[in-house]
Symmetry: C2
Subunit: 381 residues, 2 copies
């Protein structure tokens, strides 16, 4: 069998397997790398060795016709990308390291994609995730982070939920950036239905992605396993707002497991929507970021994006000589003091202090009142 | 000379030295441990070896009468506590490690104290510091932290400024806790004058402390060296709000230098008053805390105060069998699915799934509609 034919067989087997099992099924994750998808599928129907998997699979209707499934998908503008394809995101292989029966980890069998962009364009990309019931504060910060990273040419990846997901897509779209939704249902479905227009927009300009075949409904388990795909597709995950048991924390957790940076945006300690993020920051599971520039700095190649260090306004006092500073620091803040008193406090002789005070007065840093010298209003802050 | 007489001589010499030099003078910090305060004072007037210090000291009026100074102070209810005294806070000795000409570090020569409490009661104590121009958010959090730590029997130490300082004292006072202001001027002075009543309250119930002799005015330099005393008196420093160049960051910096924990309260990334704290958290210079209980956990002896781990409300789903959970996770969130579809998604046989769905329905976790099963409203969040 030549290579294209083998790839085709593999693709068909993966279609069928993704119909028969749930995303991240630990047995599939273990056996596909060992046997290959076509052989696993073959054994599934005969072999006692994988009887455990067979029992569950048997509960599913065994009427999958992968060729027709791919054709139907193609008519909807949907392609099924598998590991042999040029655009396959190699980075998802990291999930193989954490596949175990508890976690439902493991790389996806393939990814169903709708949209003009390619999965391998996600080399520089960031997951922006968080609470569905975001505050306006959280939504604003998510939009800013998405806009800044998208403007830098990075892909923005999120879910399609209300709140932070929506704000992230909106921020990236506002700068005509590359933005991607990963769904817990088929890419032909709109969940939540209120986001049908958003998803249509992404399918036209960016990408809508899922490991579930077209037509599938979202379930809790599918949301949780979807989160590992978001973490695995990107260079790192930013959690903008998350309450204590938010699903966004599961995305952060997956990112940690595959050694991708987790970043967290702080918020008021009085906001329940920031409690989950504060937990990540407090335990060191996440690094604090406050804006898109800092996200790029944390995730970019070293030195590639250096966020400008936030600094206070330059003060006139920074430009003083050390002698001038010494006198300035000895001048009372409020009730005026005579020149002798300032000289004493500064530890500098009387004559020199008079000269220095006059210079500081010219710079509007000190003022002379009838009772003596004190700091000028503008120099007190 | 007997011990009490030596202590008396030492005390008088320290009074005079603290009149002649500024707080934390690096030369004093270096020479007092070598020579003792009385001998340094003696040399100061004769010896060429310390001529550098003499020149500056000469600029001060040499009319200090330490005995009368102590008497005058005593009449105002002020005592001058020095290292030989029982209540001397031994912990301040850590400052000797960081004395150098740049920093004006070094332990204070002594501490002028007004109030009924003792310095050695600060064994368990926390510095709560921050911006003068605090937001109401910052002030509320500072009060909460001060109230919770004070209620646990800890001393709360701060300055006497507007904003966070004031809020910390208010929080501690509200629970009749032990609260201490460290000033950058004499303890007989009220700066800012608007805080005269606050300082009077602290002098009656807690303590007002300064290394500057009574009558001294505040200067910038004195504020900065005052911050090292706040850091050194306490087990750790909490920065509640601080803009980028806030003086509160200098307190944090001193605490770091003498290896005391620095804690930081996050806030909205859009608030300038939290930018300085976020800087500390981002670089790892501070540990994130969100409440008084977490402050006690960070600063208390190991296991002494364990903050209750914040957790979400317990969910009904936590008490399900693994089989029930497996089915629950396979039930669609919104559009209903028939029992066959759920069985397929769950990988469990039809009959068992029917039973499990009925159990989940009894727990109000799923609902049955004409078209099939879906999650009940309360189980979707």
């Amino acid at each position: 069998m030549n290579a294209p034919a083998a790839l085709h067989d593999d693709r068909l087997a993966r279609v069928t397997l993704s119909r028969l099992t749930e995303p991240g099924d630990p047995r599939v994750s273990r056996l596909v790398p060992q046997l290959g998808a076509p052989r696993l599928l073959h054994l599934l129907l005969d072999d006692a060795e994988v009887s455990d998997l067979r029992t569950d699979a048997a509960a599913r209707l065994l009427d999958v016709e992968p060729e027709r499934e791919l054709e139907r998908a193609a008519r909807l503008g949907i392609r099924f990308v598998v590991p042999g394809d040029a655009e396959w995101p190699a980075r998802t292989a990291d999930l193989a390291r954490v596949a175990n029966s508890q976690d439902r980890g493991g790389p996806p069998l393939g990814l169903w994609v709708r949209g003009p962009r390619r999965l391998d364009e996600l080399g520089n990309s960031v997951a922006v995730v968080g609470s569905r019931s975001a505050t306006t504060y959280g939504a604003d910060v998510a939009s800013e982070i998405a806009a800044v990273t998208a403007r830098a040419g990075w892909g923005v990846v999120s879910g399609a939920a209300f709140g932070i997901d929506q704000a992230a897509h909106r921020g990236a779209a506002a700068v005509r950036g590359f933005t991607v939704a990963v769904l817990a249902c088929g890419v032909d479905r709109a969940y939540p239905t209120a986001h049908a227009a958003l998803l249509e927009h992404l399918a036209t300009e960016g990408m809508v992605v899922s490991e579930l075949p077209p037509g599938c409904s979202p379930t809790r388990l599918r949301f949780l396993s979807r989160n590992r795909v978001i973490a695995a597709l990107t260079r790192g995950t930013v959690v903008v707002e998350a309450a204590l048991r938010s699903g966004a924390l599961s995305t952060a957790n997956w990112a940690s497991k595959i050694s991708r940076p987790v970043l967290g945006v702080p918020g008021p300690v009085t906001s329940a929507q920031s409690q989950g993020v504060h937990g990540l920051l407090r335990t060191g599971a996440a690094t604090l970021v406050t804006c898109g520039a800092e996200v790029l700095e944390e995730l970019g190649a070293v030195g590639e994006h250096l966020a400008e260090l936030p600094r206070g306004p330059e003060r006139r006092r920074d430009r003083l000589s050390s002698r001038q500073q010494q006198v300035l620091e000895a001048v009372p803040v409020a009730s005026p003091a005579g020149v002798e008193s300032v000289a004493r406090a500064a530890g500098i002789g009387l004559l020199e202090v008079s000269t220095l005070l006059a210079q500081l007065q010219a710079l509007e840093l000190v003022e002379q009142l009838p009772r003596g010298w004190r700091l000028a209003e503008g120099a007190r802050a």
